[in-house]
Amino acid sequence: MSTEANNEAARQANAADTPEVSIVNIFVMGKRYQVPAGLTIMAAIEYAGYQLIRACGCRAGFCGACSTVYRKDDEQKLHFALACQTTVEDGMYLVQIPFVPASKAKYMIEDLKAEENTILSMYPEIARCVSCNTCTKSCPQDIKVMMYIQNALRGDIAKAAELSFDCIQCGMCAMRCPADIKHYHVGQLARRLRGKYIDTQSQDLKKRVAEVEGGQYDKEIEELVGMSEEQLRGLYNKREIEAKKKKKEGE
């Protein structure tokens, strides 16, 4: 566990260490721990003394590394969450999923075409979907997972990309699917195809890439690489924010 993570756990614990804060019972891989209510699952596991080596990443709900499965004491159904985004509740039986084995199609995006059967040819198993919707129920991002697979199946790449846009690749869908579909890879392919072949290309981006490739920023990058952390921080804090600048001009 990094110092930062330690501090974070301590900070959350301290904040919770006031008389009115109650203690909840959680179970980490079957063992009971008493932790202050209000902690995230991740902070609670660290509070209980575990060091997170895997199943922990950005701590900000973006990287999808900390997918967690839990069941509450008296409930029939499983729940799915990101450990860094969900607070502990009394009676949670928790397990962290450190890694999802999911085969991924190999392709060169340049060699593909955005056609009706492109995704199906890369991931033929999407035709096995029985619309049970278990994937959707297991998504901590509340994405309509089954519907984007269905859109991929019928060749609607743009819609599959749109519906899967909030995916953080945690892989819970693929772990739960009775048809062994690797949903999150399918969604990623849909978004890549849409970005490359369907959406209008941004002219600004094209221009900027040409500038970068032409070496226009090489010198500036070299200067940044040579700077100390302090210099970098100073520069960052003084940076010009385009939106703010425009607002000022507008006023």
């Binding site: 009706e116 199906l120 979907c129 029985v130 619309s131 049970c132 269905q150 199946l153 060749g155 009775p178």
Partner: protein, 291 residues
Amino acid sequence: MDLLYYPGCTVKTSAKCLETSGFAVIKALGHNLVEMEEWNCCGVVASLTDDDLMHHLAPLRNLIHAEDQGQEKIVTFCDMCGNTLKQTNLRVQESEEDFDTLNNFMDQEEDYKKSVDVQHFLEFLRDDIGFAKLKKSVKKPLKGMKIMPYYGCTMLRPREVAIDDAEEPTILADLLKALGAEVIDTPYKIECCGSYHTIEQKDLTAKRAYRISQAAKDAGADAIMLSCPMCKFNLDYRGKDAEKIFDGYKQIPIYYYTQLLALALGLDVENCEFESHTVDPIPLLKEKKVI
């Protein structure tokens, strides 16, 4: 009239010409097909196993989506979609126990209220519009075209969901007559096309396509008219393969009924998207002066 339309995946991918020509037809007849806001795969093959309810989830979800849109009827072009949707609809009507199990499994959806009727587009033409009335809309009769109507299996079986008699169907023949074509009848009109054997046993399917098409030719037909995208693929694409197996054999063109209907209604040939066919259907139409 606005009709709620269930497309299915095939008409969005390999059978686009069925949807395009069907849409042209419905518009010409003064109606409107409105695609369902949300739909999933129909389930493809209706499971006949007593305890296999998992495969009824997909069709049931579609029926619920139709109810969500406040509609009591969905219309579909695809025979297989129509079949699975109808079979599941029937199953939940007949078995309260299966219905409960399915509803309980889905839990997050509204329970199905069993209010939706599934209609094949051919049924809409026959029962809601009527072939006699349709005949009056024909602007370009298919004069001189000798066509074998081909039914396949999924619009006729099982009997409980069939849109016509399973052994002696007439719906496509009646439509052909209304369009002014000459109907060539053979017992092969209800032979199986080979269905999904087309994936693993291409030769077997090619041979079936040959038997069916050759029977049509022997009886004097110039072409075959059908409805099912699966049958269309096997008779058209695998039928072309059969040319390599049977010396001197030439596959006859395969038409969707929506395409011939579009032409008979005087609509532009563009609506038929014939370029997606394997055996070119255009020369025969030119020869018979339909286009």
